[in-house]
């Protein structure tokens, strides 16, 4: 049985092409996927991300529990409303999921995890939470709409109750706050995203989501599908769980070393494995690839290097760059020419640092 978000009928009425995404019936595009991509880079677009799983954690020992559960350090969260991107690891150091943690109170944190990993995440979190007497409560009563692009914040703020506007205007990056939306809708607004543009990810009670979506559309925010979301996040250098990393891949090999906090004396799940891997030296590394010739880099294509073979993880045509880019996992220490096998043809590619695009513009060297 395919699940539907509360906005399903709205997408269909807009003529969206629907696909199955991790068990959810979701819009891949409403027309041209490339135009939706450009709308986000140049103005403002919105995505229904209600399929993502929101989990609230309550209890006196919640912070202590999170110190144990995730690889980044929740002690970086000092101000109420602040958010942290982190991986949740198994004992082998493999990534169970990547998620965002919000600090909402001394005994209250909120997680947003992936839709496709919902069941295993909830089971894992509940199992680990027992020893800390932390209550784990899913929040299926929220819909979630991501509004992204250079004019996204202004368009959202224009819809808020006057008393909230100045406060949300000042909301810092990777922080969240409550505010009142159109018709009194209680919104949870986070200045986060998955596109490399400024904007908000907004939780709204399900019964008010359709109205809020329509208000955003009337304010000139373009509906965008998961297709554009994928090319935007790839250009922005952001990982996709299941494609760029999974249970068998450690953050060291997934370009996520920056999310690992080996702070003194914190015993988080997977730490021993990560330290052993670090001491041994990572076998593989995640790099960015750019194809300057015609063609498209795709998931699963073989990468040929002087140190052996690697493979393309996420790969796609990048509409902002008008050429193909990819993430690839290749042996460490590659120095010579790198080629990709595209249908039996060996095509030269450039190894680059990602992100490929930030704030609407190609990064240097791309």
């Amino acid at each position: 049985m395919t699940e539907k978000t509360v906005l399903n009928a709205t997408h269909r009425a807009l003529g969206a092409r629907m696909v199955d995404f991790g068990g959810w019936d979701m819009p891949i595009s409403y027309g041209s996927q490339i135009e939706e991509h450009h709308a986000v880079r140049r103005d403002a677009g919105m995505f229904d991300v209600s399929h993502m799983t929101v989990v609230d954690l309550h209890g006196a020992r919640t912070r202590e529990f999170l110190r144990h559960l995730v690889a980044n350090s929740v002690d970086k969260l000092k101000v109420q409303g602040k958010a942290l991107y982190t991986c949740m690891l198994n004992e082998q150091g493999g990534v169970i999921d990547d998620l965002i943690v919000y600090f909402l109170g001394d005994e209250f944190f909120r997680l947003v995890v992936n839709a496709a990993t919902r069941a295993k995440d909830l089971a894992w979190i509940a199992q680990q939470a027992k020893a800390f007497h932390v209550e784990v409560k899913e929040r299926p009563d929220f819909a979630m709409i991501a509004v992204q692009g250079p004019s996204a914040r202004a368009k959202v703020i224009g819809l808020l109750h006057e008393v909230d506007r100045a406060r949300i205007e000042k909301l810092g990056r990777f922080a969240a706050a409550a505010a009142q939306g159109p018709h009194g809708a209680p919104l949870f607004i986070a200045r986060t995203g998955y596109t490399g543009e400024d904007g908000f990810e907004i939780m709204v009670p399900e019964e008010q989501a359709v109205t809020f979506w329509n208000e955003l559309a009337a304010a000139g925010v373009a509906p965008c599908g998961l297709g554009a979301r994928d090319t935007l996040r790839l250009e922005a250098g952001m990982n996709l769980y299941g494609q760029d990393m999974d249970d068998s891949v450690s953050p060291w090999e997934a370009g996520l070393a920056w999310t690992i906090a080996l702070d003194e004396g914190r015993d988080f799940i997977g730490r021993k494995a990560l330290e052993a891997q670090k001491a041994a030296g990572a076998m593989r590394t995640m790099v960015g690839l750019v194809l300057d010739e015609k063609g498209v880099l795709r998931h699963g294509q073989k990468v040929l290097t002087d140190r052996g073979e690697g493979e393309i993880l996420s790969g796609s045509f990048a509409p902002t760059l008008n050429k193909a880019v990819a993430f690839a996992r290749i042996p460490s220490g590659v120095s010579g020419d790198v080629r990709v096998d595209i249908r039996g043809r060996e095509v030269p590619v450039r190894v680059v640092k990602f992100p490929f695009v930030r704030d609407g513009k190609p990064c240097e060297g791309i």
């Binding site: 891949i28 490339i34 297709g227 795709r298």
Partner: protein, 131 residues
């Protein structure tokens, strides 16, 4: 969904074939197929002078989403390719049955055309696919 021109014949894999006045066979993909693929970003054309077999891959079209083989509806020799697609692959999205044609084959066995679906049968095929 645009009208399917009645003079076209189709493969089940969504390629169309049109017999030109000079007897050559012009080939493209259906409007339904371009809609399924989404924005096209790259077309790998066959070489003029190369030989193709009916039902075998002759070209590749790539959308943002995926790469798809384009099968030749008939066997023969490639006599012309649509070079415009090198710079403007989106022509297929805009006009799948017209300016978005892909290649022209000089057929070695015209009887192969009889194996193809006519426009009505193809319309029925894609209708069933949608349901």
């Amino acid at each position: 969904m645009s009208e399917i021109p009645g003079d076209l014949k189709f493969l089940k894999s969504h390629e169309w074939a049109r017999v030109e006045d000079n007897g050559l066979i012009r080939v493209g993909i259906s409007d339904h197929a371009q809609g399924q693929l989404g924005d096209l970003v790259y077309v790998e054309l066959p070489e003029v002078g190369s030989t193709v077999q009916a039902g075998n891959g002759a070209a590749v079209v790539e959308s943002v989403k995926a790469a798809s083989d384009i099968y030749s509806p008939v066997s023969g020799e490639i006599v012309e390719v649509n070079d415009t697609l090198n710079d403007k692959p989106e022509t297929i999205n805009e006009d799948a049955y017209g300016d978005g044609w892909i290649f022209i084959v000089k057929a070695s066995d015209r009887a192969e055309l009889d194996e193809l679906l006519d426009a009505d049968a193809y319309a029925e095929l894609i209708e069933n696919e949608d349901n």
